[in-house]
């Protein structure tokens, strides 16, 4: 059971998060609205609604909602059931390493092909998830081979040529 003090702390944290997310929504809406002016009106008829209308309408409403969210957060108000769970520590320790690992996978796939990219992705992923011992050594090759067979052999997905070197071309 959560204490009254705990509930107040969660509500305060939620309100603080809502201020930041509200402002982020306002910035996003402003960005969309500003960029909507670069949409060409060359082929628009005199009658009817142009291609800028819908994006601008969405941006305006999103911006207003962002302002309300930020404003309510500043006043310390939030919907009773609205409880955020964002923790900066967890974000930097959990989400960011996996996000960067995923981007490294993209670069490795382009540069060295499927095999190297997938082996490294799974091995480093296992380390991030604190897997140790035999699983750390066995899972990457087994999973990489199985996925290769399913995606590139069974489904015949096109594997792009590696920009630097693909060990699979050497093996085959």
């Amino acid at each position: 059971m959560q204490t009254a003090e705990g509930r107040t702390s969660v509500a305060r944290e939620t309100a603080r998060h809502n201020v930041v997310t509200g402002l982020a929504l306002v910035v996003l809406a402003a960005f969309f609205f500003w960029n909507s002016y670069s949409i060409s009106l060359d082929f628009v008829d005199e009658e009817g609604i142009g291609p800028r209308f819908f994006p601008q309408a969405i941006a305006v409403v999103l911006g207003i909602l962002g302002l309300i969210l930020a404003g309510s957060g500043v006043l310390g108000r939030a919907a009773p059931a609205d409880k955020t769970s964002f923790e900066a520590r967890r974000f930097w320790l959990d989400a960011v390493p996996l996000f960067l690992l995923s981007l490294v996978f993209v670069w490795l796939f382009k540069s060295f092909g499927y095999l190297v990219a997938t082996l490294i992705l799974i091995a480093v992923g296992l380390l991030v998830f604190s897997a140790r011992g035999r699983a750390l050594w066995l899972t990457p090759p087994i999973a990489a081979i199985l996925l290769y067979l399913v995606f590139f052999r069974l489904m015949r997905i096109y594997e792009p040529p590696a920009a630097i070197f693909n060990p699979l071309t050497f093996l085959s």
Binding site: F43, L62, L103
Partner: protein, 503 residues
């Protein structure tokens, strides 16, 4: 007759039947793994289905969705951890039964209830979709725009804990859909000079990012902590493993009520199984003669929510098939598959692709029976296997499957990068209490809504005045206003009552 043809098609096409069987098995397993939802599994598998025939593809994903809802009950009952949010209410009495050494009885109750609830929902879909499709054939763009607005606002207002955040999530999804070619003039919008954005974002990387990668990102901490004590899967005696006829008769009224509630909730866009199971649990407990036993291990407490959460499945497809408006995340994904295979969803689908639709209905009915058999005979075994596989091995593998799936859809590494970025966006949305499902549904709905609005205004000289001359449109505009009004009124009453109690 068409349904019979659907059955014949499924049974005479080994590939389609194989995908239905695989979907039932995979759905139960995926649903039983805590943290891995049927939506996430379907998101990963959508690109794979581009390579198979439309009926097999749709049947496979549809059956995974059904079996996944049921699979969530296995980990809820055995490990006190619902595999999906749809099984959140099943934990209460289901795990209490496991602690009494009656895990088998609880699993069989969940199986029977899920199967009956799902059949009720599926028959409502089969008869309801065609009836509604016949009624909506003559609707024009203004009516469709009103339906889209209604869906946007209903989804936004009910899907999240905060109406404001729910609607902001739908607007965010709609804003993403504005990237790409204008639907009327074909002029590029928001492509920022990038060739890859010329046709807009593809649905698959968005799905994979927001549903799968964001889930993997949030599971790092729990997986590092290690799996919690798994409780006992073994039963103490034969009675704890059996579900007698008298017990089945005892739960039937609760199954019926749950199925009714689930079917009604399934018709409302965006509400979903998680709400249905708690409404069914609360309503059924209030009417139960043995309500003192609820929470301590009453089989009725497993039957009502399980029946309700599966009954949602069929009716939640009605808006998609009858109107072309997806009312749930799974329906939005299936709409993507329909479109990829060149099938236009909406009221005319029964004329243009009737064979596929009735084949899908037949696949649903077969899939329910299959996951029922898997659950009845293999539930405890699946539970034991999942308990033994460490989650720290499952999630890195899911990460690699998800990234490769993102590539598979269009053989594009740009799509993989987009999936990574939306993984982070999805992480923020989840932890800051926004709704990724609302964003995805809006992403799918927005192009249709824009087209309908612009066509409506072109139909008349009155501009927006055309909506005032269409009674159907006015009704659909009024529905969300009423729904949001009721929710805000309820919240204000709750706050007043709380203030009164405090003073």
């Amino acid at each position: 007759m068409e349904l019979l043809n659907g059955f014949i098609t499924i049974f005479t096409t080994p590939e389609t039947l194989g995908f239905v069987v695989l979907g039932a098995l995979l759905g139960v397993i995926v649903g039983a793994v805590p943290g891995l939802t049927a939506s996430a599994a379907i998101a990963m598998l959508v690109p794979i289905t581009f390579y198979i025939d439309p009926l097999s593809a749709l049947s496979f994903l549809y059956v995974i969705g059904k079996a996944g809802r049921f699979g969530g009950s296995i980990s809820a009952i055995l490990f006190n951890t619902p595999g999906t949010t749809a099984a959140a209410a099943t934990v209460i009495d289901g795990h209490a039964l496991t602690k009494q050494g009656k895990a088998g009885k609880a699993l069989k109750t969940a199986t029977v209830s899920s199967v009956i609830g799902d059949y009720v929902g599926e028959f409502i879909l089969i008869f309801g979709a065609l009836t509604i499709a016949q009624l909506t054939r003559d609707l024009g763009p203004p009516d469709y725009f009103a339906i889209y607005v209604c869906a946007f606002l209903i989804i936004g207002s009910v899907i999240s804990d905060s109406v404001l955040k729910g609607i902001a999530s739908t607007l965010f999804g709609a804003a993403l859909a504005m990237v790409g070619l204008d639907p009327i003039t074909s002029e590029p919008r928001f492509d920022f000079g990038m060739v890859e954005l010329y046709n807009g974002f593809s649905l698959v990387p968005l799905l994979i990012g927001m549903f799968v990668l964001s889930e993997v990102f949030t599971q790092v901490f729990p997986a590092r902590q290690g799996q919690q004590s798994q409780g006992t899967v073994e039963t103490r005696d034969a009675d704890g493993d059996r579900l007698s006829w008298s017990e089945i008769r005892r739960i039937l009224p609760f199954v019926g009520r749950g199925a009714g509630i689930g079917s009604m909730i399934g018709l409302i866009p965006g509400v979903g199984s998680a709400v249905a199971c708690f409404v069914a649990y609360g309503t059924s407990k209030a009417r139960a003669k043995n309500r003192d036993e609820w929470g301590k291990g009453a089989i009725e407490g497993v039957a009502a929510p399980e029946s309700a959460n599966n009954a949602v499945s069929g009716p939640s497809m009605i808006p998609l098939l009858a109107l072309g408006v997806p009312g749930s995340t799974i329906a939005a994904m299936l709409m993507g598959v329909f479109l990829i295979h060149g099938i236009q969803v909406g009221p005319k689908i029964f004329d243009t692709s009737g064979g596929i639709v009735y084949g899908l209905f037949a696949a649903g009915l077969i899939g329910i029976a299959l996951y029922g058999l898997i659950g009845w005979f293999g539930g405890p075994l699946i539970g034991r296997i999942i308990a033994k596989v460490p989650h720290r091995l499952i999630y890195p593998t899911i990460l690699s499957v998800a990234l490769i799936s993102a590539y598979t859809a269009r053989s594009s590494m740009f799509d993989v990068t987009i999936a990574c970025i939306f993984g982070l966006v999805g992480y923020f949305m989840r932890t800051l209490n926004f709704s990724p499902p609302a964003a995805i549904i809006a992403f799918v709905l927005a192009p249709g809504a824009e087209q309908a609005l612009r066509q409506s205004v072109l139909l008349t000289d009155d501009g927006f005045g055309i909506f005032l001359t269409r009674p159907v449109a006015l009704v659909f505009f009024a529905i969300p206003v009423l729904a949001i009004g009721i929710r805000i009124f309820g919240r204000m009453r709750g706050q007043k009552a709380e203030t009164a109690t405090q003073t």
